[in-house]
């Protein structure tokens, strides 16, 4: 078990190393001032509080979508609906805070609950289709993202649009709905505590509850789960619905923490980033914040670099792509891992032989 963790850690570090090396090569080949660009890229996020605040702000939605995807992937349900869930959760929250006049604390709490329900609703349809008819959740959840997006826009435009605003936007949120800023000089908000609390909740759910156990067993070997009497259909359902709910919470927290009104007229992209975070974290909720922070750091670093030098921030997209490919590439370092397995098995086989009293060689 420990060897396996060690192996996976090394593999991730190798992937990150290779990707950064590639970034280095790109920066050196496109830039007239590569040293400065590199310095800004790697150290920019920590040179002042505002920049570092930006990293933490960005990590919040990534933690939520990373957790959402982790829960679904852990059950081997390849639902990519975190994007739609995130967006639709924010729509649901907007509807609530603009409709009901509730006191502070209660209003954001109610908004998060409604956001979670809206997000869960979005992933429920692919889940039901999978459990009932065996429809691929991958395809239906991807399509669902667009349905949720246009449905969300329809709702905002028709019921909550502020006609006085210059661009398309909802009415302003009441102050009671907003999440408090917690670090002066940054926009970092209370949502970070909610995100970290969710990390713990999801960890306890997956590793300490009976539902999480069933979910993990379905992910490891669904036939074993069926044979053991686990209700696999219900796992297929609740793993995806819970994933959608976490994404919806994330959308709500992001919206209420960072924006004065609903102004998203395209999908914000955090759902896809959640896939990256979950893959890097190997679906382990405790690692999700680590990689959410890492990804946010890369993004902010690239932004700073692009602002002050001649290197475009798209560099980071290349880095991301390379990292994901290397981490998901099962064959990367597979030879090394295989030798490890062989060694261990040979030891076990020899031990068994001694115990068997040498009858093996007839």
């Amino acid at each position: 078990m420990n060897k396996r963790v060690l192996f996976e850690t090394i593999r991730t570090l190798v992937a990150i190393g290779v990707a950064l090396l590639l970034a280095l090569i790109i920066i050196f080949s496109v830039s007239d001032e590569p040293g400065y660009a590199l310095e800004r890229f790697l150290l920019g996020p920590v040179t002042n509080l505002r920049n570092f605040g930006n990293v933490l702000e960005m990590a919040i939605p990534l933690i939520f979508t990373g957790l959402a995807i982790s829960v679904m992937f852990m059950a081997k349900q390849f639902n990519l609906g975190a994007e739609g869930g995130f967006f639709f959760g924010a729509v649901g929250a907007t509807a609530l805070v603009l409709t009901f006049n509730l006191p502070p604390v209660i209003l954001p709490v109610a908004a998060i609950i409604v956001g979670a329900l809206a997000g869960g609703l979005g992933s429920a349809l692919p889940a039901v289709l999978k459990a009932r008819m065996g429809a691929s959740e991958l395809v239906s959840s991807l399509m669902m993202n667009f349905i949720l997006f246009w449905l969300g826009l329809f709702i905002i435009n028709n019921y909550f649009r502020d006609a006085m605003a210059g661009a398309m936007a909802s009415h302003r949120f009441p102050d009671a709905a907003k999440l408090t800023r917690i670090l002066p000089g940054t926009r970092l908000h209370f949502g970070i505590f909610i995100a970290l609390a969710m990390v713990v909740v999801v960890y306890l759910f997956l590793y300490r509850s009976r539902w999480g156990y069933a979910l993990r067993m379905v992910g490891l070997n669904i036939r074993f789960a069926e044979y053991s009497g686990i209700n696999t259909k219900s796992v297929i359902l609740y793993s995806q619905i819970i994933g959608g709910m976490i994404a919806g919470m994330g959308g709500t927290v992001e919206l209420l923490g960072m924006y004065p009104r609903f102004t998203w007229f395209q999908l914000p992209g955090y759902g896809w980033d959640g896939v990256i975070v979950a893959i890097m974290a190997r679906n382990n909720p405790l690692l999700v914040p680590v990689f959410a922070f890492f990804l946010a750091y890369l993004r902010i670093g690239a932004d700073i670099m692009a602002r002050v030098t001649d290197v475009p921030s798209e560099v980071v997209a290349i880095i991301q792509g390379v990292m994901i490919m290397l981490v998901t590439a099962e064959r990367l370092l597979a030879g090394w891992r295989h030798r490890m397995v062989v060694k261990e098995k040979m030891k076990a086989a020899e031990a068994a032989e001694v115990e068997g009293g040498g009858v093996q060689h007839g």
Binding site: Y213, M346, A352, V359
Partner: protein
Amino acid sequence: MEEILAMKGITKVYPNGIVANKDVDFSVRKGEIHAIMGENGAGKSTLMKILFGMEQPEEGEIYYKGEKVILHSPNTAINYGIGMVHQHFMLVPSLTVAENMVLGVEPKKSSVLFDFEKAVQMTEEVSQKYNLAIDPKAIVEDLAVGKKQKLEILKALLRGAEVLILDEPTAVLTPQETKELFEELINLKNQGFTIIFISHKLKEIKQITDRLTILRNGRSMGIHETKAISEQEISRLMVGRDVVLKVDKQPATPGDVVIETKGLSYHDATGKPVVNQMSFRVRKGEIMGIAGVEGNGQGELVELITGLKKPSVGDIFIGGVPVKDLTVKEIRNLKTSHIPEDRMVYGVAAEGTIGENLISDRFDHPKYNGKLLQKVKSLISRSEELIKDYKVKCDGHTQQVNMLSGGNIQKVVVAREFSSDPKLIVADQPTRGIDVGSTEFIRRKLVELRDEGTAVLLVSADLNEVLELSDSLMVMYGGEIAAYFEDASQVDEMELGMYMLGLKTMEQHEMGGATGE
């Protein structure tokens, strides 16, 4: 005769940790028919996949015509002249015979377009040359199994194979087709081809092979001249179990009926009855063995009883409760335990820890759960207890299951299934492919549980095991009960063989009370 091919010290470990071959030596002479024998899981197919370049060994060397070769891929093997006919055919069903023949080596018209006429001509040539008649323009999916196999052999020959590997070629054939195949193989042998023949059917081996290699548990039990070795000797080397393995057991004292089936039938996707009109009873404190050649409906019967499949017709009662419409969980709650035929497919989550695998049937039991969270401590201490009681050799409950040896993985399954205080145990091949120590341990446990009043339904392809453990005995053939013996100790092995092969079937009145309506 010269050796055309030799493998030395081959060891293969799969990424999931299964040691399929360990230090195996193997050699074939030019122009012989050489059998590779062994039980399921003994490593026959793996050894041949290595020889055909489909798998890479961890250790060992391969020599072809005296030269050391490295077989990276089937293509390399084919270029050397090694061809393989797989158990599951590698054909494109919607294409014609000729098109399948030339797949990958297509003749071209003006070096671009596929030349179908040429392909037909090539097929006819090779089919005449080796006297294997086949219609080049027939669509593959319309062909009988025997013809498909012929096509696979021809495909290998067309690609210049001098050594032909056949993976359990007779498993899918009717007796007539088998006879034809054997004639063709002898014909090929006379033309100088070398044939490697994987099988576990003693009679066939005796009939057509010159030499044989026996594998057991991934290890070679030596190369033998077929004429010089008796069938008993072969089976002893294959199974390796007549060594001791006598289980001390007292006569059974059966009580009330625990499980009863009435007219139980199951039809597969094609509508064929795989289990047909089976009615039987197993009583408390009794081990009923089911003997039979594999694939005669035993697997389906087990899945029907344990709820993994639903019967087409008929009823099953466990402890008097009709279970036909119950879920797996509900059937387990009636104190039914199940040792599945394939432990890696159903028995364990191989990437899970030992602890996780030991609790899959009781993880949601109130005893191990608070309102929201599981009682981790009591789950762990239970797991540790089971590891100790069932002597699972491991580094602790957090070790991954696929790091264990086959015997220890099976002990994990058995520990879970035997420790839930079962009233009925359905044990399907409980000791297949595992070491002698674990086998003995599991058999003794089964008898112990019987003595404590559990009803045991034992399915095993290992006749020794069935005869050794069973109190009563049933033979399945073609999804039906071919014979029933109230007292298993009175059964003659030869007679049992007749029933297993379908040469004899008992009349209803001969079977006596336990199987009738």
